[in-house]
């Protein structure tokens, strides 16, 4: 297993190098450079030249790239034009919010998706099955931003059950430890804050997880249908194993494998959806940081966020692949 992990890690190196090349030279295509943006209209030509020299922008492009790479490896992506803070600090502030949101969305997607899939497969072509599959088709096609708006309208606006956005109720304060609102509140042992943070997390997580949930439900249904017809399941039933154990213990485990693949395929959707979800619910995460930076032409931040985003995405995919290899040892030798 460890050999497999090592091999997969080595394969990541050229991809990540490619990512850095693409991002760096992509950003170079933009007219105007960081020195100009940092100075704005205030600086003289001499100031500009000095700043360019300071930032190394007067060196040949390939030297600049090597420097960018060396800095990036140390986590240094320069300084934000908008806030004048180090880019990596900005990312550090925003990332935990996105991670917590994505994990909550994934949890919702897996639990609800698997339940719907298994329920549908138990009674194929019944009303429950048809209803769930229509629901799933709509779920797959719903644009994230519209799901979010509708959920906000119904549960935030009309019913007033859940907050309209943000991460905590006004007046509440949680000391920042991990940067994940719910986790920080738990660590502090402040249950009012935990409740508030959870309430703020529900709608964004459902919004972000809806499409993934629908895909998982569809996949789980079809694999469960296949598995439930296999001989070993019939044998288990014939042995007199209760239906509950047949479905829960024997069949479900085998139906999990394709679900793990689906999760891997949907990770990109999840990270992309986070940008839209955070915009709708005013969450100070990586997605909102990206969009604010693109709109403010804050290119150092865009550059940093995109590189970090790609690294996370690639690593998350690796984790899914490893999980897959662990669930199904045949993969490792393939």
């Amino acid at each position: 297993m460890w050999k497999y992990v090592g091999r997969r890690m080595v394969q990541l190196v050229p991809v990540l190098l490619g990512v850095s090349v693409l991002v760096f030279f992509g950003m170079h295509l933009i007219p105007g450079d960081v020195a100009q943006l940092l100075l704005g209209d205030k600086g003289t030509e001499a100031d500009l030249a000095r700043l360019r020299h300071q930032l190394g922008l007067d060196r040949p492009v390939y030297v600049q790239y090597v420097r960018f790479l060396a800095d990036a490896l140390r986590g240094d992506f320069g300084i934000s034009i908008r806030t004048r803070q180090p880019v990596i600090w900005e990312i550090g502030q925003a990332l935990p919010v996105t991670v917590e949101l994505s994990l909550a969305a994934l949890l919702f997607a897996v639990v609800v998706g698997l339940s719907i899939g298994v329920l549908s497969a138990r009674r194929p072509h019944s009303a429950v099955d048809t209803g769930s599959m229509v629901f799933v088709l709509v779920g797959v096609s719903m644009p994230v931003f519209w799901t979010g708006i509708l959920l906000l309208l119904v549960f935030g606006g009309l019913l007033g059950w859940l907050p309209l956005g943000g991460i905590l109720d006004a007046g509440l304060n949680v000391r920042r430890v991990t940067g994940m609102p719910v986790l920080d509140a738990v660590l502090q042992g402040d249950w009012t804050a935990v409740r508030s943070a959870l309430a703020h997390l529900v709608l964004p997580a459902v919004t972000l997880g809806a499409a993934v949930m629908a895909t998982i439900a569809r996949m789980a249904r079809s694999t469960m249908l296949d598995v439930l017809n296999l001989d070993y399941v019939r044998t288990a039933r014939a042995k007199g194993v209760s239906e509950r154990a047949v479905v829960g213990r024997h069949a479900l485990w085998n139906a999990l494998l394709p679900v793990v693949t689906v999760i891997g395929l949907q990770l990109g959707l999840l990270l992309s959806g986070a940008v839209l979800t955070e915009t709708i619910f005013a969450l100070p995460g990586l997605g909102r940081l990206t969009i604010t930076s693109v709109l403010a032409r804050d290119y150092p931040v865009v550059q940093g966020v995109v590189v970090i985003g790609a690294v996370i995405f690639v690593l998350a995919n690796l984790v899914v692949d490893l999980l897959y290899a662990w669930l199904d040892p045949r993969i490792r030798y393939g």
């Binding site: 991809v15 719903m142 519209w146 940008v275």
Partner: protein, 300 residues
Amino acid sequence: MAGSADSVRLTAELPAAGERRAAALSWRRLRRSSNLAVGALVVGLVVAAAVLAPQVAPYDPIDQEFTSQLKPPSASHPFGTDEFGRDIFSRVVFGSRIALNVGLLADAIATVLGVLFGLVAGYFGGRVDALITRLIDVMLAFPYLLLAMIVVAILGPGLTNAMIAIAVVYTPQFARVVRGVVLATTQQDFIEATRALGARPLRILVRGILPNIVSPIIVMATLTIGFMIVETAGLSFLGLGASPPTPEWGSMLATGRSYMLTAPWIATFPGVAILITVVAFNLVGDGLRDLLDPRLRGRL
């Protein structure tokens, strides 16, 4: 000689019979596939709305009417009006033009580029293939919206640039599928035979290989068009695509968000329009896949 003429006639007849049988089979599948029919009908309606927009829409989509701002749906404004008194129904109808244009163009760009890269990589192999495959891997290493956002950051915001960004995001996926099919096809005996007969690479590519990738490409292009529409709308929603007063569904949703509690119809109807269009395209895509190439199930 007579014998060879007979055999020529025979071989000429065989595929015809086969085609007839295939046609009958497809027709049966087509009839069974009611999803495809429903999807095609709805897509047809959306296309009709887009083509006949000036005739269908009762008002000008960007005309502001300050006496009727934020009016709920009524007989004169079936979907209500927005904060500038513009008729939402007319804007949604005209929005279908933008959505279809953007979807079709982005799809066309991604298809052409994807087929080109995929063909070249799959057919020539070696270093060219290694280079293109690496590039595909790198592009797929970005979460798609992030990749689209860099493209928009480079080109600058705007509907056309958002569309190009979405096309760029999808190109590697097309290229990967095409490359796979090309690799599988070039292994087959008939390509080997054509090559042995001295056909040039271009001829082999166009006459031998291209016909084999047509059906996966049609399926993929139909399946992605809905997503392309959603994602361009998403970029507009974020303020990176269409700008006001363009009647674009995503940007209509973005403005509607601010009036959600007081005038929910502003955001509701463009959202319904996106949903219906996308579901329809997905139904058509799924249906076409089952019809043309059931083996692609689960892969596309």
